[in-house]
């Protein structure tokens, strides 16, 4: 039995390939079932997001199954395997386990630490359990993956800092103004980046956004799109008095908001804080206004610097995440090694012998007056009892050695007899 991952993601395949390989129609697990039915495959889970499509599986002989799988992926998508083969990665054993853990923990994501991936992985697993294509190995693997992801999330800061300009702006607005629901937003001018930031902020507030533009018609068009209110540029100063967050992005060559104007505004606002985001180049807001009490001015470079710093911080945090993943991978691989007939049989024999020996030792006092031969007889009869008890399970385990369901039986025997690592592993699996 071997664990294997086969798939492609944002780092191996361009978007033209990714959009063709998406495992469509897997809502009811039909595709997962098709993969699970591929000859030689024992357990299978399919993961599909916009940045990755991959199959996690266990197979008796991974090498042989690989080609069949690639062909079947081609069939599912109606593609010739040659069109995507070169973009695929295939990982085996510990590498595959580590890969799954990294994916679940969002260490393999395009935006490091983004939180959606874990939900998508869980969804893939849920479909697979419904389609009954998972068994003891992948069930355990997935639970460990969720556990590893949880550890990475709570023990490192990999997901904590905002990594897009729009998000940085929203987070910053929160740190200045607190709860955003009752705040008001003013968008001055237009532009892709400004509209994006405005939309993000707009999602957080209940009040309609106010849109100011040099030409009133343009203000009306944009306001309609954002469900906001248009105003003419001549009312800018009055609007500033009422607004908490201002995004500026006009084509003006000179600053449209100067220090003198904002000083008046702040006096009228009684120095309630105002957050200005200047996305325009050349700048719309005189940089000097940042010196005024309770005025917080960020231009596009400032925001991008914060993004760059936060990305760096996530990368740094990801290193501790990788350490956690390696640790968890090692633990999991240790467990898979115990999942084999020979060690299980040895462990079963040891367990029974241990019981026999301790029970005899416990009654030692009562046997004090037995002579040597009687003692021998006692030893031999107890040994025979445990051998007879163990005989059938051992024969059964040896016979299933070639059987596809062997892992299920090994796992069951380990659990009901609480053999070697099984007991502690059982407790641990409750954690996630």
């Amino acid at each position: 039995m071997e664990i294997m991952v086969i798939g492609l993601n944002h780092s191996t395949a361009p978007v033209e390939v990714r959009e063709r390989i998406t495992f469509p129609g897997d809502d009811d697990g039909a595709v997962t079932r098709m993969i699970g039915d591929v000859e030689g495959v024992e357990e299978a889970i399919v993961f599909s997001t916009c940045n990755r499509a991959e199959v996690l599986l266990t197979a008796a002989d991974a090498g042989k199954s690989e080609e069949r799988l690639i062909r079947s992926i081609g069939e599912i998508h109606g593609q010739d395997p040659s069109t995507f083969r070169s973009y695929l990665y295939v990982r085996h054993g510990a590498d595959a386990v580590q890969h799954v853990f990294r994916v679940a923990a969002s260490l393999d994501s395009m935006v490091l630490g983004e939180p959606q991936i874990l939900g998508q992985v869980k969804e893939g697993y849920r479909r697979a359990t419904k389609a009954r294509t998972t068994g003891p190995i992948l069930n355990r693997l997935m639970h460990r993956a969720f556990f590893a992801a949880k550890r990475v999330r709570t023990e490192t800061g990999v997901g904590s800092a905002a990594v897009s300009v729009a998000y940085v702006a929203v987070e910053l607005a929160r740190k200045i103004l607190g709860e955003l629901r009752d705040q008001s937003i003013l968008l001055v001018g237009a532009g892709e980046m400004a509209e994006l930031a405005a939309r993000h902020l707009n999602n957080q507030v209940d009040r309609p956004i106010v849109v100011a533009n040099r030409t009133y018609e343009n203000a009306c068009i944009l306001a309609e799109e954002l469900h906001g209110l248009p105003v003419g540029m001549e009312r800018l100063e009055q609007q500033l008095i009422r607004t908490d967050v201002v995004i500026t992005s006009t084509g003006s060559c000179d600053p449209i908001i100067g220090t003198a104007m904002l000083k008046n505004v702040m006096r009228a606002r009684r120095y309630r804080p105002i957050f200005l985001i200047d996305i325009a180049i050349p700048r719309d807001v005189d940089p000097g206004v940042n010196e005024i009490d309770s005025v917080y001015l960020y231009n596009i470079d400032d925001l991008q610097a914060v993004v760059a710093e936060n990305v760096g911080e996530r990368r740094k945090e990801a290193l501790s995440g990788e350490r956690i993943v390696s640790e968890e991978t090692e633990k999991f691989m240790h467990w898979t090694k115990t999942l084999d007939a020979a060690p299980t049989i040895v462990a079963l024999k040891e367990k029974l012998e241990h019981i026999r020996a301790t029970e005899l030792a416990r009654l030692n006092g009562k046997f004090a007056d037995l002579d040597h031969s009687q003692r021998e007889a006692l030893e031999s009869v107890t040994r025979q009892i445990i051998n007879k008890i163990a005989h059938d399970p051992i024969v059964f385990l040896k016979k299933t050695g070639s059987h596809g369901k062997q892992n299920v039986y090994l796992d069951t025997v380990q659990r009901i007899f609480r053999l070697n690592g099984a007991a502690e592993n059982q407790d641990e699996s409750e954690e996630p």
């Binding site: 709570t154 740190k175 200045i176 103004l177 120095y271 804080p273 009490d293 309770s294 917080y296 710093e309």
Partner: protein, 283 residues
């Protein structure tokens, strides 16, 4: 036996401090919530400790430095739990939990008295009322000052565009200003009651309401300072940085009349004959 709840509370506060310290080092949210539940447990045990001491030791309470410091710690944790309800930033816990622990250890090692007869003027029913109001008022002012310091830090960080870990740890400017906005009238109200009940106590102890003893004078100065702040805030709409600076200056005055007056100026709030550390809380 006398201190069993006190010890449990202290142990839990220390546990909370440790959890919050780990939180500060690694930003682990789960540690912060562990710290919070330790603090809640500690607060419950602490409440029992105060009741226990009041009922069984007849020290109702606050007449010795031990009780006063313990009550002050209790007030601080209480305000923290109240604030935590509105803003879950764990940073307050990281300050309050160790502070409460230190206050309790300080009181315990320096001034714990089992049963020493109280000197007569301290046996008045005005006393616990007076001290409780004064302590609660000081607790609120202390919180406002901490909030003010955080405001100045956070404001500086945002203005200078250094949005690192410290920036993320500190609460939002809005939250910090809210502490000031709500704390100011509340603390002022408690301070006023503290001074009035103190006057009644003085009347019952010495027969006059007001004697211009240094501590009384400085309390009055403090009262005027906070009255001024309330005016600035409510009428002139001062908020943000200026309010934060005032909260810090105000607390400096509070600390002076709380501790400094006894040490530097004397007066009848320093009770000779009893423990030297008696009533550093003064008033």
């Amino acid at each position: 036996m006398d201190l069993v709840f006190f010890k449990i509370a202290l142990a839990l506060y220390l546990g909370a401090s440790a959890a919050y310290l780990v939180f500060l080092l690694v930003s682990s949210e789960s540690r912060a919530s562990l710290g919070f539940w330790f603090a809640v447990g500690g607060f419950v045990a602490h409440t029992l400790s105060i009741l226990h001491r009041a009922i069984f030791s007849g020290f109702f309470p606050l007449a010795t430095a031990f009780d006063a410091l313990s009550a002050f710690a209790w007030v601080l944790v209480g305000i923290f739990l109240l604030v935590r309800y509105h803003d879950p930033s764990p940073i307050f816990g990281s300050i309050v939990a160790p502070l409460a622990s230190v206050l309790m250890i300080f009181g315990w090692t320096l001034a714990y008295q089992v049963k020493e007869p109280l000197i007569p003027i301290l046996r008045s029913s005005w006393l616990p009322v007076h001290v409780m109001f004064a302590l609660a008022g000081n607790g609120v002012f202390a919180f406002m000052a901490v909030g003010g310091l955080m405001y100045l830090f956070q404001e500086r960080l945002i203005k200078t565009k250094r949005l690192g870990r410290l920036h993320r740890l500190l609460p939002s400017l809005a939250t910090l200003d809210t502490i000031n906005r709500h704390g100011l009238p509340f603390g002022f109200f408690l301070l006023t009651l503290g001074i009035i009940t103190g006057a009644f106590w003085a009347s019952s102890a010495w027969g006059t309401y007001w004697t211009w003893d240094p501590k009384e004078t400085w309390s009055l100065v403090t009262w005027f300072a906070y009255a001024g702040m309330v005016h600035q805030r409510m009428v002139l709409g001062w908020c943000g940085k200026r309010a934060a600076v005032l909260a810090i200056i105000g607390f400096g005055l509070v600390m002076f009349s709380f501790v400094g007056v006894n040490a530097l100026l004397g007066g009848h709030h320093a009770f000779q004959g009893a423990n030297r550390f008696m009533l550093p809380s003064g008033f």
